[in-house]
């Protein structure tokens, strides 16, 4: 659970895919089909001569090869680089260390903030005492301005997910009773290598 902007991810993939498809398709067509080849050559010749003209016309001085045009190209490249790095840097995030906050402080006790560590300890300790649950992890995140608790549980294989969920929900509800406030909670039940290795408890059938 994080705050990655998924629409942006898909937009990046969509645009890049479109560009690659167009470039690859056009190049393949131009190589394989003479009519497309003449179109390709005419088009690129026009583009190249336009670039030469623009480059020559925007020379800063006679003595150098530096021109306004090349500086423009470099600026565009720089913008692309900065934008891509900014997008990578913005991925993820959205974790929160707070489970419950009451900052208005209209109660007797004033502003109340319950940290994730408290809920995490309370819930994972209780789950650890149950034999059908191998591992559990609790984290908090902030989604659209609301704190959400995420309890992630890996049970032993062949355990009914409903029973596991009910156990976890009971603990979350107990926490809600204790704190007097209900936090929206996501319970995710996972399978993994550990659950497969610890498949069956010895049972008497």
């Amino acid at each position: 659970m994080n705050a990655t902007n998924r629409g942006m991810n898909r937009a990046v993939l969509f645009i890049t895919g479109l560009v690659l498809l167009a470039a690859g398709g056009a190049a393949a067509l131009a190589s394989a089909w003479p009519v497309a080849a003449t179109v390709w050559q005419d088009g690129t010749r026009t583009a190249l001569s336009w670039m030469k003209d623009a480059e020559g016309a925007s020379r800063i001085s006679e003595a150098t090869t530096v021109s306004g045009f090349t500086i423009g190209v470099l600026a565009v490249l720089l913008v692309i680089i900065v934008a891509a790095i900014a997008m990578i840097a913005r991925l993820g995030g959205g974790r929160s260390s707070v489970v419950i906050r009451d900052e208005t402080g209209d109660g007797v006790q004033g502003p109340v903030v319950i940290r994730q560590g408290f809920a995490s300890d309370a819930i994972t300790r209780s789950l650890a005492s149950r034999s059908e649950i191998l591992t559990s992890r609790v984290s908090a995140s902030r989604v659209r301005g609301a704190d959400v608790l995420h309890v992630s549980v890996t049970p032993r294989q062949n355990t009914s997910p409903v029973k596991v969920a009910e156990t976890a929900i009971r603990l979350v509800d107990n926490l809600a009773t204790l704190t007097g406030r209900e936090t929206p909670t996501l319970i995710s039940i996972h399978s993994g290598v550990r659950s497969r290795l610890a498949a069956d408890q010895p049972r008497v059938n």
Binding site: N9, V73, L91, A165
Partner: protein, 194 residues
Amino acid sequence: MTKPVLTRVVRRETHSPRTVVTVVVLVLIVVAAVYAGIEIVLHLLRASPLLVTPGVALAWVAALPTAEPQPAIIAGAVAVAVIGVVLLWLAIAPGRRPKHSLGISGHAVIVDNAVIASAVADRVRRELDLPKGAVIVGIGHRAADVTVRPEPGQVIDRGRVRSVAENELDGYASSPRLKVRARVLQYAEKEGVS
């Protein structure tokens, strides 16, 4: 799921964010842009290029239709187009993860398909008194495939397999709902002997 924030959380948890592919694509874009920038600057400084000067590169692109070897050029161009199609597919396809959301409480519950499969298999195995490993369950997005391989001499009714599996899944209230397809395999003679 009463709270809208949980609806959003469930959607995010059951669909892939495409982060890995996006990071790879963005890193490649950065590398390509940096390389192009270096070549342009080297050209401006009249230094020798790393690989190719910008002018030569552009001329090569312009002369691409006549470049040799032509089959290799076409293959490369098609490969680029195929990568483009794959990226478009990744951008548009829903990217569902193998998980189901259970509607058993006011909180959001998300379960890996493998957990559902093993629970259903265990229930069927116990109810029909089958040996370990005799029940194989595959969970898809909308269907659960239950395959039973009874022991020699054991008669298993397909309808009963289905009703047991349906009974287990009814308690899950999964969304989307899972339709049960039951199958009973005949015990192969030679497997029993060897």
